[in-house]
Protein backbone atom coordinates (compact mmCIF):
# COMPACT_ATOMS: atom_id res chain seq x y z
CA UNK A 1 0.00 0.00 0.00
CA UNK A 2 1.48 3.27 -1.08
CA UNK A 3 -0.99 5.42 0.77
CA UNK A 4 0.42 4.26 4.05
CA UNK A 5 2.07 7.54 4.86
CA UNK A 6 -0.74 10.04 4.83
CA UNK A 7 0.83 11.36 7.98
CA UNK A 8 3.65 13.56 6.78
CA UNK A 9 6.42 13.79 9.26
CA UNK A 10 7.03 17.54 9.27
CA UNK A 11 10.28 19.17 8.27
CA UNK A 12 10.93 20.54 11.72
CA UNK A 13 11.14 17.00 13.04
CA UNK A 14 14.82 17.70 13.47
CA UNK A 15 13.94 19.93 16.36
CA UNK A 16 13.24 16.77 18.22
CA UNK A 17 16.30 15.80 20.12
CA UNK A 18 17.84 12.43 19.75
CA UNK A 19 18.58 12.10 23.42
CA UNK A 20 19.45 8.81 25.06
CA UNK A 21 16.48 6.88 26.36
CA UNK A 22 16.42 7.31 30.12
CA UNK A 23 13.19 5.94 31.55
CA UNK A 24 11.36 8.38 33.82
CA UNK A 25 8.26 6.30 34.38
CA UNK A 26 8.23 2.54 34.04
CA UNK A 27 4.92 0.77 33.78
CA UNK A 28 4.84 -3.00 34.06
CA UNK A 29 1.87 -5.24 33.40
CA UNK A 30 -0.67 -2.63 34.41
CA UNK A 31 -4.25 -3.84 34.65
CA UNK A 32 -6.92 -1.31 35.42
CA UNK A 33 -10.55 -1.75 36.44
CA UNK A 34 -13.58 0.46 36.86
CA UNK A 35 -15.59 -1.79 39.16
CA UNK A 36 -15.99 -5.10 37.33
CA UNK A 37 -14.96 -3.66 33.94
CA UNK A 38 -11.36 -4.10 32.95
CA UNK A 39 -10.18 -1.07 30.99
CA UNK A 40 -6.44 -1.71 30.62
CA UNK A 41 -4.89 -5.08 29.94
CA UNK A 42 -1.28 -5.82 30.75
CA UNK A 43 0.12 -2.48 29.65
CA UNK A 44 3.88 -2.19 29.87
CA UNK A 45 5.57 0.98 28.74
CA UNK A 46 8.58 3.12 29.60
CA UNK A 47 8.28 6.89 29.34
CA UNK A 48 11.58 8.53 28.42
CA UNK A 49 12.85 11.41 30.52
CA UNK A 50 12.72 14.98 29.15
CA UNK A 51 11.14 13.96 25.87
CA UNK A 52 7.62 14.04 24.54
CA UNK A 53 5.66 10.81 24.43
CA UNK A 54 2.36 10.71 22.57
CA UNK A 55 -0.40 8.19 23.15
CA UNK A 56 -2.78 7.69 20.25
CA UNK A 57 -5.72 5.42 19.58
CA UNK A 58 -9.43 5.49 18.90
CA UNK A 59 -11.94 6.77 21.46
CA UNK A 60 -12.43 4.48 24.41
CA UNK A 61 -9.16 2.63 23.88
CA UNK A 62 -7.95 3.42 27.39
CA UNK A 63 -5.30 6.02 26.59
CA UNK A 64 -6.83 8.66 28.86
CA UNK A 65 -7.34 6.10 31.59
CA UNK A 66 -3.70 5.12 31.25
CA UNK A 67 -2.69 8.77 31.57
CA UNK A 68 -4.78 9.06 34.71
CA UNK A 69 -2.93 6.20 36.34
CA UNK A 70 0.33 8.13 36.05
CA UNK A 71 -0.83 10.72 38.61
CA UNK A 72 -3.48 8.46 40.17
CA UNK A 73 -6.24 10.82 39.17
CA UNK A 74 -8.42 7.74 38.68
CA UNK A 75 -8.76 7.59 42.46
CA UNK A 76 -11.53 10.19 42.29
CA UNK A 77 -13.70 7.53 40.66
CA UNK A 78 -15.16 5.15 43.24
CA UNK A 79 -14.41 1.45 42.84
CA UNK A 80 -11.57 1.97 40.39
CA UNK A 81 -8.33 0.11 40.95
CA UNK A 82 -4.96 -0.35 39.32
CA UNK A 83 -2.93 -3.55 39.54
CA UNK A 84 0.63 -3.90 38.43
CA UNK A 85 3.74 -1.85 38.76
CA UNK A 86 4.33 1.81 38.04
CA UNK A 87 7.64 3.35 39.02
CA UNK A 88 8.57 7.02 38.95
CA UNK A 89 12.37 7.32 39.07
CA UNK A 90 12.39 3.80 40.46
CA UNK A 91 9.94 4.61 43.28
CA UNK A 92 6.66 2.76 43.53
CA UNK A 93 4.18 5.30 42.23
CA UNK A 94 1.10 3.42 43.42
CA UNK A 95 2.30 3.52 47.04
CA UNK A 96 3.52 7.11 47.11
CA UNK A 97 1.82 9.93 49.00
CA UNK A 98 -0.68 11.06 46.42
CA UNK A 99 -0.34 14.82 46.95
CA UNK A 100 3.45 14.60 46.67
CA UNK A 101 3.05 12.50 43.53
CA UNK A 102 0.73 15.03 41.92
CA UNK A 103 3.13 17.83 42.63
CA UNK A 104 5.77 15.86 40.72
CA UNK A 105 3.40 14.76 37.95
CA UNK A 106 1.23 17.65 36.76
CA UNK A 107 -1.80 17.37 34.53
CA UNK A 108 -3.59 19.46 31.92
CA UNK A 109 -7.11 18.46 31.00
CA UNK A 110 -9.06 18.15 27.79
CA UNK A 111 -11.28 21.13 28.51
CA UNK A 112 -9.48 24.10 29.95
CA UNK A 113 -10.60 24.44 33.55
CA UNK A 114 -9.33 27.67 35.05
CA UNK A 115 -10.63 28.59 38.48
CA UNK A 116 -13.05 31.53 38.64
CA UNK A 117 -10.24 33.68 39.97
CA UNK A 118 -7.77 36.15 38.54
CA UNK A 119 -5.01 34.99 36.19
CA UNK A 120 -2.49 35.54 38.95
CA UNK A 121 -4.46 33.56 41.52
CA UNK A 122 -4.90 30.71 39.06
CA UNK A 123 -1.17 30.30 38.58
CA UNK A 124 -0.43 30.90 42.25
CA UNK A 125 -2.89 28.21 43.34
CA UNK A 126 -0.37 25.37 43.36
CA UNK A 127 2.47 27.26 45.06
CA UNK A 128 0.06 28.51 47.71
CA UNK A 129 -1.02 24.93 48.42
CA UNK A 130 2.53 24.00 49.28
CA UNK A 131 2.62 26.91 51.71
CA UNK A 132 4.63 29.14 49.40
CA UNK A 133 2.94 32.46 50.04
CA UNK A 134 5.69 35.08 50.08
CA UNK A 135 4.58 37.86 47.80
CA UNK A 136 7.81 38.43 45.88
CA UNK A 137 8.47 34.72 45.45
CA UNK A 138 4.91 34.17 44.25
CA UNK A 139 5.23 36.96 41.72
CA UNK A 140 8.44 35.41 40.42
CA UNK A 141 6.87 31.98 40.14
CA UNK A 142 3.79 33.32 38.39
CA UNK A 143 5.82 35.27 35.85
CA UNK A 144 8.20 32.39 35.19
CA UNK A 145 5.34 29.91 34.75
CA UNK A 146 3.41 32.22 32.43
CA UNK A 147 6.56 32.74 30.38
CA UNK A 148 7.18 29.00 30.18
CA UNK A 149 3.63 28.54 28.98
CA UNK A 150 4.21 31.22 26.33
CA UNK A 151 1.34 33.38 27.48
CA UNK A 152 3.15 36.02 29.54
CA UNK A 153 3.19 38.67 26.82
CA UNK A 154 -0.54 38.33 26.27
CA UNK A 155 -1.57 38.60 29.92
CA UNK A 156 1.14 40.55 31.71
CA UNK A 157 -1.02 43.69 31.83
CA UNK A 158 -4.12 41.95 33.10
CA UNK A 159 -2.82 39.55 35.73
CA UNK A 160 -5.57 40.58 38.11
CA UNK A 161 -8.41 40.19 35.65
CA UNK A 162 -10.56 37.11 35.59
CA UNK A 163 -9.15 34.08 33.82
CA UNK A 164 -12.57 33.66 32.24
CA UNK A 165 -11.98 36.72 30.08
CA UNK A 166 -9.30 34.85 28.11
CA UNK A 167 -9.94 32.97 24.88
CA UNK A 168 -10.12 29.17 24.86
CA UNK A 169 -6.55 28.75 23.69
CA UNK A 170 -5.26 31.26 26.21
CA UNK A 171 -7.19 29.52 28.97
CA UNK A 172 -5.58 26.24 28.05
CA UNK A 173 -2.10 27.79 28.10
CA UNK A 174 -2.99 29.37 31.44
CA UNK A 175 -3.85 25.89 32.71
CA UNK A 176 -0.44 24.72 31.49
CA UNK A 177 1.18 27.64 33.33
CA UNK A 178 -0.79 26.69 36.43
CA UNK A 179 0.49 23.14 36.19
CA UNK A 180 4.07 24.32 35.59
CA UNK A 181 3.98 26.63 38.62
CA UNK A 182 4.66 23.73 40.98
CA UNK A 183 7.66 22.65 38.86
CA UNK A 184 6.46 19.18 37.99
CA UNK A 185 8.99 16.66 36.68
CA UNK A 186 6.35 15.17 34.41
CA UNK A 187 3.50 16.94 32.62
CA UNK A 188 0.52 14.90 31.49
CA UNK A 189 -1.72 16.42 28.82
CA UNK A 190 -5.07 14.81 28.09
CA UNK A 191 -6.06 15.88 24.56
CA UNK A 192 -5.21 19.48 25.39
CA UNK A 193 -6.03 20.80 21.93
CA UNK A 194 -9.24 18.95 21.15
CA UNK A 195 -11.36 22.05 21.75
CA UNK A 196 -8.99 24.53 20.13
CA UNK A 197 -8.61 26.04 16.68
CA UNK A 198 -5.48 25.35 14.58
CA UNK A 199 -3.68 28.55 15.60
CA UNK A 200 -4.18 27.97 19.30
CA UNK A 201 -3.16 24.36 18.74
CA UNK A 202 0.04 25.42 17.01
CA UNK A 203 0.89 27.66 19.95
CA UNK A 204 0.51 24.82 22.38
CA UNK A 205 2.60 22.48 20.25
CA UNK A 206 5.28 25.15 19.99
CA UNK A 207 5.21 25.41 23.75
CA UNK A 208 5.71 21.66 24.13
CA UNK A 209 8.97 21.99 22.19
CA UNK A 210 10.26 24.59 24.59
CA UNK A 211 9.27 22.54 27.63
CA UNK A 212 11.21 19.49 26.58
CA UNK A 213 14.62 20.26 28.11
CA UNK A 214 13.14 20.67 31.60
CA UNK A 215 10.18 18.41 31.70
CA UNK A 216 8.99 14.96 30.69
CA UNK A 217 5.79 15.28 28.67
CA UNK A 218 3.13 12.66 28.03
CA UNK A 219 0.37 13.76 25.69
CA UNK A 220 -2.79 11.90 24.79
CA UNK A 221 -4.06 12.99 21.42
CA UNK A 222 -6.74 12.13 18.96
CA UNK A 223 -4.80 13.77 16.23
CA UNK A 224 -2.10 11.67 14.60
CA UNK A 225 -0.48 14.63 12.86
CA UNK A 226 -0.08 16.18 16.26
CA UNK A 227 1.64 13.10 17.61
CA UNK A 228 3.93 13.09 14.56
CA UNK A 229 4.74 16.76 15.04
CA UNK A 230 5.49 16.89 18.73
CA UNK A 231 6.48 13.48 20.02
CA UNK A 232 9.76 11.58 20.00
CA UNK A 233 7.98 8.43 21.07
CA UNK A 234 4.47 7.29 20.34
CA UNK A 235 2.36 4.51 21.76
CA UNK A 236 -0.72 3.13 20.04
CA UNK A 237 -3.57 1.88 22.23
CA UNK A 238 -6.40 -0.31 21.05
CA UNK A 239 -9.15 -1.86 23.18
CA UNK A 240 -7.27 -1.35 26.41
CA UNK A 241 -3.99 -2.80 25.19
CA UNK A 242 -0.80 -1.10 24.15
CA UNK A 243 -0.40 -2.42 20.63
CA UNK A 244 2.85 -0.77 19.72
CA UNK A 245 5.32 1.65 21.21
CA UNK A 246 8.41 3.12 19.64
CA UNK A 247 10.05 6.12 18.05
CA UNK A 248 7.44 8.26 16.37
CA UNK A 249 9.01 8.13 12.91
CA UNK A 250 9.35 4.40 13.06
CA UNK A 251 5.80 3.91 14.27
CA UNK A 252 4.33 6.07 11.54
CA UNK A 253 6.65 5.03 8.71
CA UNK A 254 7.03 1.37 9.40
CA UNK A 255 4.55 0.12 11.96
CA UNK A 256 5.23 -3.41 13.08
CA UNK A 257 1.66 -4.38 13.80
CA UNK A 258 -1.17 -4.62 11.33
CA UNK A 259 -3.58 -2.82 13.73
CA UNK A 260 -1.26 0.17 13.95
CA UNK A 261 -0.96 0.36 10.22
CA UNK A 262 -4.71 0.12 9.76
CA UNK A 263 -5.25 2.90 12.27
CA UNK A 264 -2.70 5.37 10.99
CA UNK A 265 -3.72 4.86 7.40
CA UNK A 266 -7.24 5.69 8.44
CA UNK A 267 -8.78 2.32 7.79
CA UNK A 268 -10.67 2.58 11.08
CA UNK A 269 -10.85 4.71 14.18
Amino acid sequence: MNDRLEIEVPADINRKRTAPFVPKIEVERLNFYYGPTQVLHDVSLRVPEKQVTALIGPSGCGKSTFLRTLNRMYETVPKSRAEGNIRLDGEDLLQMDVTALRRRVGMVFQRSNPFPKSIFDNVAFGPRLSGNTGKAALQDTVERSLRRAAIWDEVKDQLHNSAYALSGGQQQRLCIARALAVDPEVLLLDEPCSALDPIATAKIEELLFTLRPQCTVVIVTHNMQQAARVAEYTGFFLLGRLVEFGRTEALFKAPEKKETEDYITGRFG
Binding site: N71, M73, T76, T99, A100, R102, R103, G106, M107, F109, R111, N113, P114, F115, P116, K117, S118, F125, G126, L129, S130, N161, S162, Y164, A165, C175, R178, A179, V182
Partner: protein, 328 residues
Protein backbone atom coordinates in the same frame (compact mmCIF):
# COMPACT_ATOMS: atom_id res chain seq x y z
CA UNK B 1 -35.09 13.19 -1.50
CA UNK B 2 -34.31 16.86 -1.61
CA UNK B 3 -37.91 18.02 -1.35
CA UNK B 4 -38.46 17.10 2.26
CA UNK B 5 -39.75 20.49 3.27
CA UNK B 6 -43.45 20.67 2.55
CA UNK B 7 -44.75 24.10 1.75
CA UNK B 8 -46.72 25.53 4.63
CA UNK B 9 -49.84 27.55 3.66
CA UNK B 10 -49.02 31.21 4.12
CA UNK B 11 -51.69 31.95 6.71
CA UNK B 12 -50.18 29.45 9.11
CA UNK B 13 -46.85 31.15 9.08
CA UNK B 14 -46.09 33.15 12.21
CA UNK B 15 -45.98 36.90 11.72
CA UNK B 16 -48.80 37.05 9.21
CA UNK B 17 -50.89 40.15 9.77
CA UNK B 18 -54.63 40.63 10.03
CA UNK B 19 -57.44 38.76 11.70
CA UNK B 20 -56.85 35.53 9.86
CA UNK B 21 -53.19 35.87 10.75
CA UNK B 22 -54.02 36.32 14.42
CA UNK B 23 -56.32 33.31 14.41
CA UNK B 24 -53.68 31.26 12.72
CA UNK B 25 -51.09 32.36 15.18
CA UNK B 26 -53.46 31.62 18.04
CA UNK B 27 -53.93 28.17 16.62
CA UNK B 28 -50.22 27.53 16.47
CA UNK B 29 -50.03 28.43 20.15
CA UNK B 30 -47.20 30.95 20.10
CA UNK B 31 -49.46 33.91 20.57
CA UNK B 32 -51.40 32.24 23.37
CA UNK B 33 -48.23 31.29 25.17
CA UNK B 34 -46.87 34.80 24.79
CA UNK B 35 -50.03 36.54 26.02
CA UNK B 36 -50.61 34.15 28.88
CA UNK B 37 -47.08 34.24 30.23
CA UNK B 38 -46.95 38.01 29.80
CA UNK B 39 -50.17 38.41 31.75
CA UNK B 40 -48.92 36.30 34.62
CA UNK B 41 -45.58 38.06 34.72
CA UNK B 42 -47.33 41.43 34.72
CA UNK B 43 -49.54 40.28 37.60
CA UNK B 44 -46.51 39.91 39.82
CA UNK B 45 -45.37 43.43 39.03
CA UNK B 46 -48.87 44.73 39.64
CA UNK B 47 -49.10 43.02 43.02
CA UNK B 48 -45.78 44.52 44.06
CA UNK B 49 -46.80 48.02 43.03
CA UNK B 50 -50.20 47.74 44.68
CA UNK B 51 -48.61 46.43 47.86
CA UNK B 52 -46.27 49.39 48.19
CA UNK B 53 -49.01 51.83 47.26
CA UNK B 54 -51.46 50.41 49.77
CA UNK B 55 -48.90 50.33 52.57
CA UNK B 56 -47.96 53.91 51.82
CA UNK B 57 -51.56 55.13 51.59
CA UNK B 58 -52.71 53.41 54.77
CA UNK B 59 -49.78 54.66 56.79
CA UNK B 60 -50.56 58.25 55.84
CA UNK B 61 -51.56 59.51 59.31
CA UNK B 62 -48.30 58.50 61.00
CA UNK B 63 -46.21 59.41 57.99
CA UNK B 64 -47.54 62.97 58.20
CA UNK B 65 -47.48 63.23 61.94
CA UNK B 66 -44.05 61.78 62.72
CA UNK B 67 -42.14 61.89 59.46
CA UNK B 68 -38.62 60.54 59.87
CA UNK B 69 -38.81 60.63 63.65
CA UNK B 70 -40.94 57.49 63.31
CA UNK B 71 -37.71 55.69 62.50
CA UNK B 72 -35.61 57.31 65.19
CA UNK B 73 -38.10 57.48 68.06
CA UNK B 74 -37.49 55.06 70.92
CA UNK B 75 -40.88 55.26 72.60
CA UNK B 76 -43.76 53.10 71.47
CA UNK B 77 -46.79 54.04 73.53
CA UNK B 78 -50.12 53.45 71.80
CA UNK B 79 -52.08 54.82 74.76
CA UNK B 80 -50.26 58.14 74.71
CA UNK B 81 -50.29 58.13 70.91
CA UNK B 82 -46.51 58.14 70.61
CA UNK B 83 -44.93 55.92 68.02
CA UNK B 84 -41.18 55.45 67.54
CA UNK B 85 -40.16 52.32 65.67
CA UNK B 86 -36.46 52.19 66.46
CA UNK B 87 -36.73 49.38 69.06
CA UNK B 88 -38.49 47.18 66.50
CA UNK B 89 -35.96 47.96 63.80
CA UNK B 90 -33.19 47.22 66.26
CA UNK B 91 -34.75 43.93 67.34
CA UNK B 92 -35.31 42.85 63.74
CA UNK B 93 -31.78 43.65 62.62
CA UNK B 94 -30.09 42.16 65.69
CA UNK B 95 -32.05 38.89 65.64
CA UNK B 96 -31.41 38.50 61.91
CA UNK B 97 -27.70 39.19 62.30
CA UNK B 98 -27.51 36.68 65.16
CA UNK B 99 -29.36 34.16 63.02
CA UNK B 100 -26.85 34.40 60.21
CA UNK B 101 -23.92 34.37 62.62
CA UNK B 102 -25.14 31.09 64.05
CA UNK B 103 -26.66 29.44 61.00
CA UNK B 104 -24.15 30.18 58.23
CA UNK B 105 -21.14 28.32 59.67
CA UNK B 106 -23.26 25.35 60.71
CA UNK B 107 -25.27 25.27 57.49
CA UNK B 108 -22.27 25.64 55.21
CA UNK B 109 -20.35 22.92 57.06
CA UNK B 110 -23.32 20.61 56.84
CA UNK B 111 -23.73 21.34 53.13
CA UNK B 112 -20.05 20.63 52.49
CA UNK B 113 -20.31 17.39 54.44
CA UNK B 114 -23.41 16.30 52.55
CA UNK B 115 -22.11 17.17 49.11
CA UNK B 116 -18.41 16.36 49.39
CA UNK B 117 -17.76 13.94 52.22
CA UNK B 118 -20.79 11.77 52.90
CA UNK B 119 -21.48 8.68 50.81
CA UNK B 120 -24.27 9.51 48.33
CA UNK B 121 -26.86 7.29 49.98
CA UNK B 122 -26.40 8.84 53.42
CA UNK B 123 -26.29 12.29 51.86
CA UNK B 124 -29.60 11.83 50.08
CA UNK B 125 -31.31 10.41 53.15
CA UNK B 126 -30.07 13.21 55.40
CA UNK B 127 -30.97 15.87 52.85
CA UNK B 128 -34.50 14.51 52.69
CA UNK B 129 -34.81 14.77 56.46
CA UNK B 130 -33.34 18.27 56.48
CA UNK B 131 -35.78 19.42 53.83
CA UNK B 132 -38.60 18.03 55.97
CA UNK B 133 -37.48 20.45 58.68
CA UNK B 134 -38.28 23.32 56.34
CA UNK B 135 -41.88 22.13 56.22
CA UNK B 136 -42.43 22.30 59.99
CA UNK B 137 -44.84 25.16 60.75
CA UNK B 138 -43.23 28.03 62.59
CA UNK B 139 -45.69 27.84 65.47
CA UNK B 140 -44.27 24.39 66.21
CA UNK B 141 -40.80 25.88 66.38
CA UNK B 142 -42.24 28.49 68.71
CA UNK B 143 -43.63 25.79 71.01
CA UNK B 144 -40.31 23.96 71.01
CA UNK B 145 -38.75 27.32 71.78
CA UNK B 146 -40.98 27.94 74.79
CA UNK B 147 -40.83 24.46 76.25
CA UNK B 148 -37.29 23.37 75.42
CA UNK B 149 -35.11 26.22 74.24
CA UNK B 150 -36.12 28.91 76.76
CA UNK B 151 -35.41 26.73 79.83
CA UNK B 152 -32.17 25.58 78.24
CA UNK B 153 -31.07 29.13 77.54
CA UNK B 154 -32.07 30.25 81.06
CA UNK B 155 -30.49 27.38 82.94
CA UNK B 156 -27.51 26.35 80.83
CA UNK B 157 -26.47 28.45 77.86
CA UNK B 158 -26.84 31.98 79.15
CA UNK B 159 -25.28 31.36 82.61
CA UNK B 160 -22.35 29.69 80.81
CA UNK B 161 -21.96 32.63 78.42
CA UNK B 162 -22.25 35.10 81.29
CA UNK B 163 -19.54 33.38 83.31
CA UNK B 164 -17.22 32.96 80.32
CA UNK B 165 -17.72 36.26 78.53
CA UNK B 166 -19.52 38.28 81.22
CA UNK B 167 -17.12 41.18 80.71
CA UNK B 168 -18.81 41.87 77.36
CA UNK B 169 -21.88 44.10 77.62
CA UNK B 170 -23.79 41.81 75.25
CA UNK B 171 -23.67 38.98 77.81
CA UNK B 172 -24.64 41.02 80.87
CA UNK B 173 -27.89 41.78 82.60
CA UNK B 174 -30.79 39.73 83.93
CA UNK B 175 -31.31 36.32 82.45
CA UNK B 176 -34.95 35.51 81.73
CA UNK B 177 -34.49 32.84 79.09
CA UNK B 178 -36.72 34.72 76.69
CA UNK B 179 -34.88 37.39 74.77
CA UNK B 180 -33.03 38.43 71.66
CA UNK B 181 -30.44 35.65 71.85
CA UNK B 182 -33.09 32.95 72.19
CA UNK B 183 -34.95 34.38 69.21
CA UNK B 184 -31.72 34.31 67.21
CA UNK B 185 -31.16 30.66 68.11
CA UNK B 186 -34.67 29.55 67.19
CA UNK B 187 -34.44 31.49 63.92
CA UNK B 188 -31.07 29.91 63.18
CA UNK B 189 -32.61 26.46 63.61
CA UNK B 190 -35.47 27.44 61.30
CA UNK B 191 -33.30 28.79 58.46
CA UNK B 192 -30.71 25.99 58.57
CA UNK B 193 -32.64 23.76 56.14
CA UNK B 194 -32.64 26.54 53.55
CA UNK B 195 -28.92 27.18 53.83
CA UNK B 196 -28.04 23.49 53.81
CA UNK B 197 -30.29 22.46 50.99
CA UNK B 198 -29.54 25.34 48.60
CA UNK B 199 -25.80 25.37 49.33
CA UNK B 200 -25.62 21.62 48.84
CA UNK B 201 -27.25 21.95 45.43
CA UNK B 202 -24.77 24.69 44.51
CA UNK B 203 -21.82 22.57 45.64
CA UNK B 204 -23.08 19.52 43.76
CA UNK B 205 -23.38 21.62 40.59
CA UNK B 206 -19.67 22.50 40.59
CA UNK B 207 -18.10 20.83 37.53
CA UNK B 208 -15.85 17.89 38.27
CA UNK B 209 -12.98 19.49 36.38
CA UNK B 210 -12.65 22.21 39.03
CA UNK B 211 -12.02 19.64 41.73
CA UNK B 212 -9.68 17.71 39.44
CA UNK B 213 -7.72 20.86 38.60
CA UNK B 214 -7.00 21.38 42.29
CA UNK B 215 -6.24 17.72 42.96
CA UNK B 216 -3.87 17.61 39.99
CA UNK B 217 -1.88 20.42 41.60
CA UNK B 218 -1.34 18.32 44.70
CA UNK B 219 -4.28 19.54 46.76
CA UNK B 220 -5.64 17.23 49.43
CA UNK B 221 -9.32 16.38 49.29
CA UNK B 222 -10.12 19.08 51.81
CA UNK B 223 -7.99 21.69 50.05
CA UNK B 224 -9.75 20.92 46.77
CA UNK B 225 -13.11 21.26 48.52
CA UNK B 226 -12.31 24.44 50.39
CA UNK B 227 -10.19 26.28 47.84
CA UNK B 228 -11.68 25.20 44.53
CA UNK B 229 -15.16 23.71 44.90
CA UNK B 230 -16.58 26.07 47.54
CA UNK B 231 -15.39 29.30 45.86
CA UNK B 232 -16.87 28.08 42.59
CA UNK B 233 -20.23 27.59 44.31
CA UNK B 234 -20.13 30.86 46.20
CA UNK B 235 -22.92 32.55 44.26
CA UNK B 236 -25.29 29.74 45.18
CA UNK B 237 -24.09 29.77 48.75
CA UNK B 238 -24.58 33.53 49.03
CA UNK B 239 -28.03 33.01 47.53
CA UNK B 240 -28.87 30.50 50.23
CA UNK B 241 -27.75 32.94 52.90
CA UNK B 242 -30.03 35.66 51.58
CA UNK B 243 -32.92 33.28 51.36
CA UNK B 244 -32.27 32.56 55.02
CA UNK B 245 -31.99 36.25 55.83
CA UNK B 246 -35.30 37.02 54.15
CA UNK B 247 -36.90 34.30 56.21
CA UNK B 248 -35.32 35.60 59.42
CA UNK B 249 -36.38 39.20 58.80
CA UNK B 250 -39.97 38.30 58.22
CA UNK B 251 -40.48 35.41 60.64
CA UNK B 252 -43.27 36.26 63.05
CA UNK B 253 -44.77 33.49 65.10
CA UNK B 254 -41.76 31.64 66.47
CA UNK B 255 -40.00 34.89 67.26
CA UNK B 256 -42.86 36.47 69.12
CA UNK B 257 -43.16 33.35 71.26
CA UNK B 258 -39.60 33.55 72.57
CA UNK B 259 -38.35 37.13 72.26
CA UNK B 260 -40.18 38.62 75.22
CA UNK B 261 -42.02 41.30 73.23
CA UNK B 262 -40.63 44.35 74.95
CA UNK B 263 -39.91 47.39 72.77
CA UNK B 264 -36.66 48.39 74.46
CA UNK B 265 -33.21 48.77 73.02
CA UNK B 266 -30.70 47.00 75.19
CA UNK B 267 -27.04 46.21 74.65
CA UNK B 268 -27.52 42.81 76.23
CA UNK B 269 -28.55 39.87 74.07
CA UNK B 270 -30.19 38.32 77.13
CA UNK B 271 -32.71 41.17 77.32
CA UNK B 272 -36.18 40.82 75.84
CA UNK B 273 -36.76 42.65 72.60
CA UNK B 274 -39.30 42.99 69.86
CA UNK B 275 -39.26 42.66 66.10
CA UNK B 276 -41.32 44.47 63.48
CA UNK B 277 -43.16 41.35 62.36
CA UNK B 278 -43.91 40.30 65.94
CA UNK B 279 -45.23 43.75 66.81
CA UNK B 280 -47.62 43.84 63.88
CA UNK B 281 -48.94 40.38 64.66
CA UNK B 282 -49.41 41.07 68.36
CA UNK B 283 -50.90 44.54 68.25
CA UNK B 284 -53.01 44.49 65.14
CA UNK B 285 -56.10 42.95 66.71
CA UNK B 286 -55.99 45.39 69.60
CA UNK B 287 -55.28 48.53 67.62
CA UNK B 288 -58.31 50.74 68.16
CA UNK B 289 -57.14 54.21 67.20
CA UNK B 290 -56.51 55.14 63.59
CA UNK B 291 -53.08 56.39 64.51
CA UNK B 292 -52.09 53.07 66.08
CA UNK B 293 -53.34 51.19 63.03
CA UNK B 294 -51.48 53.51 60.73
CA UNK B 295 -48.31 53.13 62.80
CA UNK B 296 -48.50 49.35 62.47
CA UNK B 297 -48.97 49.61 58.71
CA UNK B 298 -46.02 51.94 58.50
CA UNK B 299 -44.04 49.33 60.42
CA UNK B 300 -45.00 46.94 57.63
CA UNK B 301 -43.78 49.42 55.05
CA UNK B 302 -40.50 49.80 56.92
CA UNK B 303 -40.04 46.04 57.06
CA UNK B 304 -40.78 45.82 53.37
CA UNK B 305 -38.27 48.53 52.51
CA UNK B 306 -35.68 47.01 54.85
CA UNK B 307 -36.03 43.65 53.12
CA UNK B 308 -35.79 45.29 49.71
CA UNK B 309 -32.71 47.28 50.73
CA UNK B 310 -30.96 44.21 52.10
CA UNK B 311 -31.77 42.21 48.99
CA UNK B 312 -30.55 44.99 46.74
CA UNK B 313 -27.34 45.26 48.74
CA UNK B 314 -26.92 41.50 48.47
CA UNK B 315 -27.37 41.60 44.75
CA UNK B 316 -24.84 44.39 44.37
CA UNK B 317 -22.39 42.46 46.51
CA UNK B 318 -22.84 39.35 44.41
CA UNK B 319 -22.39 41.35 41.22
CA UNK B 320 -19.23 42.96 42.54
CA UNK B 321 -17.64 39.64 43.50
CA UNK B 322 -18.88 37.98 40.33
CA UNK B 323 -17.24 40.61 38.19
CA UNK B 324 -13.94 39.85 39.84
CA UNK B 325 -14.20 36.14 39.33
CA UNK B 326 -16.55 34.42 36.99
CA UNK B 327 -17.37 37.06 34.43
CA UNK B 328 -15.38 39.57 32.46
Amino acid sequence: MRQVLRRVPERFLPGTRGLIGLRARLRTGDEIAYLATFAFAATIMAILVLLVFELYRSSGPTLHRFGLSFLTGRTWDPVAGEFGALPFLWGTVVTSALTLLLAVPVGLSAAIFLSEMAPPRISNALTFLIELLAAVPSVIYGLIGIFALVPFMRNVAQPALASAFGYLPIFQGPNYGVGVLTAGVILAIMVLPYIISVSREALLAVPRDQREAALALGATRWEATWRAVTPFARLGIVGSVFLALARALGETMAVTMVIGNNPKISASLFAPGYTIAAAIANEFSEATSDLHLSALIELGLVLFLLTMAINAAARLMVLATARKGTQQ
